[in-house]
């Protein structure tokens, strides 16, 4: 039996800067090939930390204190530097959050789009350019030749995000980490971008880890979801199960807190304080159990 594409087991991490405040507590999750997995939570829930750990770009202030982070059975945390570097950017790539800053303003789209192809696949010359043109067509950019010669400031936000998606799928990765790829975009563009990611993912049967704070986005694009709070997994399961039959009160409250288009005029329902108290108690309880054992 082949191991799952990604298996995170009991991963714990803490931030050195905040007095060893835990940022991940015993997080476990599994990701199969071709699966779109949502990592959901509010700011500070640890979703970006998991994404960064997968990409091997954790800031120096965050220390992994325990657990495993396996990619095709190999633990990324103990993998030799050279192997990790070969993996990053080829088997695991990133769709960054903010298309405004994710492209280098001083380099052309072509130079940036072909970085991965040149470095990871060794393409050169005409083959490189042809592949870049194909990629831009695949993400539905009109006039790809002109876009290749452009600088980022000459493109719109949606166009830039398309370029970034093309770059992420360029080397034929097994896993794409999408770090809130639609938060910085207009709502109308968001929808197109989500559809585009889904289509690219299906065509290349790539697994995607989709980091977001928006359950609505999750419902549109993800097969499975893991909901985090303060670095702890609160609930996990298939998207349909989690949204239609939420088990944990926090999940229920979150779903209730979303805008309801079927009942306009009702306003938004904040997550009640009692639920946060419950969450804190649960987290404190499980921390005690860990130290006791």
């Amino acid at each position: 039996m082949t191991p799952p594409l990604v298996a995170i087991e009991a991963l714990s991490a803490s931030s050195v800067r905040d007095g060893n405040q835990p940022v991940l507590r015993d997080v476990s999750l599994k990701l199969e090939r071709g699966e779109v997995h949502g990592l959901v939570g509010e700011s500070g829930a640890g979703k970006s930390t998991i994404a960064k750990a997968l990409l091997g770009i954790l800031p120096a202030t965050i220390h992994v204190t325990g657990g495993w982070l396996r990619f095709e059975g190999r633990d990324l945390l103990t993998l030799p530097h050279g192997e990790l570097r070969a993996l990053r950017g080829r088997d695991i790539t990133l769709i960054p959050q903010d298309p405004q800053t994710a492209l280098n303003p001083a380099r052309t789209i072509e130079a940036q789009l072909t970085d991965g192809l040149r470095m990871k696949l060794g393409l050169r010359g005409a083959a490189l350019r042809d592949r870049a043109l194909d990629l831009l067509e695949e993400v539905q950019i009109r006039d790809p030749a002109r876009v290749l010669g452009s600088y980022p400031h000459q493109l719109s936000g949606g166009m830039r995000q398309r370029v970034l998606i093309a770059a992420a799928f360029a080397p034929g990765p097994k896993l794409v980490v999408a770090d809130e790829p639609t938060t910085a975009l207009d709502v109308t563009v968001q929808k197109e971008i989500l559809r585009l990611i889904r289509r690219m993912q299906e065509r290349h049967s790539t697994a995607v880890i989709f980091v977001t704070h928006d359950l609505g986005v999750v419902a549109k694009i993800c097969d499975n979801v893991t909901l985090l709070y303060a670095g702890k997994v609160i609930e996990a399961g298939t998207t349909a199960d989690l949204i239609e039959r939420p088990q944990h009160p926090y999940t229920k409250a979150l779903i209730a807190a979303g805008p309801r288009y079927d009942r306009p005029g009702q306003g938004l329902e904040p997550v009640p304080d009692s639920i946060f108290q419950l969450l804190r108690a649960q987290i404190a309880g499980s921390a005690e159990r860990t130290t006791a054992s």
Binding site: L55, G56, I57, R85, A86, R88, G89, R90, I92, T93, L94, P96, Q97, D98, T101, A102, L103, N104, P105, A106, R107, T108, E110, A111, Q112, T114, D115, G116, R118, M119, K120, R124, G125, A126, L128, R129, G149, Y151, H153, L164, A167
Partner: protein, 295 residues
């Protein structure tokens, strides 16, 4: 350079069009002035009507053109030793521009490298460089330069070295801040996630974005270098006292101000115009290069 096949060169990219530079009137005006000044300096021996050093006591303290007692050929008059003011100004431009160019480049090179290193690698590199800057900046710059030239001995190269030693901190501080800011942007994370080395990212991704700031600073620093050189010549610490430096001419003209004001006024105007031009150019460049880089 493995990427020969890529038609658009990466670092030359943002200069592919000079239009944003030419749209900025300050850049055109100040740049034009400085280019003319540089040409005058380069071709000084052919342009200057007289020798800058030749004394002729028969022709001492002649007024400039249009004033009573004007002697044809001495357009801006002569000083109390009978040396032609215009010729001395023209040769003085050589010294001023040499100091400006070389000292600013040296200071820029040292300061930018240290700033890039401390802003990008942070940690110990940053701590050492930043403390060094703090210590450096607690010295009064003019005193430090006088001290340095006194130690190094007078002469053109000592002046240049003194300016570079004093002023690298300007570059280091600004470049460090800019590198820190650029280093936090997502395109750097993206480059890291592709697996580029730290050094590659610094030179190929970050430096092109910090370059406009360095270029603008270089221009401002050239203006400062001209002033510092003038101050040192004024107090007689620059090059030998009869060499035609603008600062030296001001010092000399100060003593004969009541008899022959032109000995003081013309070098002062040259200093003023040159420093103003460098400052305008610097500010104009910063503005002109910015929108292309950072929108």
């Amino acid at each position: 350079m493995a990427d020969v096949a890529i038609p658009a060169p990466r670092s030359a990219g943002h200069f592919r069009s000079l239009k944003p530079l030419l749209d900025e009137s300050r850049v055109v005006l100040a740049g034009g002035f400085l280019i003319i000044l540089a040409l005058i300096a380069i071709f000084a021996p052919w342009i200057a009507p007289k020798s800058p050093l030749e004394q002729d006591l028969m022709m001492a303290s002649l007024p400039p053109i249009g004033f009573e007692g004007y002697e044809p050929g001495y357009y801006l008059g002569t000083d109390d030793l009978g040396r032609d003011v215009l010729s001395r100004l023209i040769f003085g431009a050589r010294i001023a521009l040499t100091v400006a160019l070389v000292a600013a480049t040296l200071a820029g090179l040292v300061g930018s490298l240290l700033g890039l290193a401390s802003g990008w690698y942070r940690g110990w590199t940053d701590r050492i460089v930043s403390r060094l800057v703090d210590i450096w900046m607690s010295f009064p710059p003019v005193l430090l330069s006088v001290l340095l030239v006194a130690v190094l001995g007078s002469g053109l190269s000592s002046v240049i070295i003194a300016i570079a030693i004093i002023d690298w901190t300007r570059f280091s501080r600004v470049v460090r801040a800019e590198t820190l800011a650029q280093g936090g942007l997502d395109y750097v994370t993206a480059a890291e996630s592709i697996g580029f080395s730290r050094r590659h990212i610094l030179w190929r991704e970050i430096l092109p974005n910090v370059a406009p700031v360095i270029i603008a600073l270089l221009s401002l620093e050239m203006g400062i270098a001209v002033i510092v050189e003038a101050i040192l010549s004024f107090v007689g610490l620059s090059i030998s006292s009869d060499a035609p430096t603008w600062g030296g001419m001001v010092a000399q003209g100060r003593q004969v101000l009541h008899e022959s004001w032109w000995v003081l006024v013309f070098p002062l105007c040259s200093l003023f115009a040159t420093v103003l031009a460098f400052n305008l150019l610097g500010n104009g460049l910063r503005k002109a290069l910015d929108p292309v880089m950072r929108r």
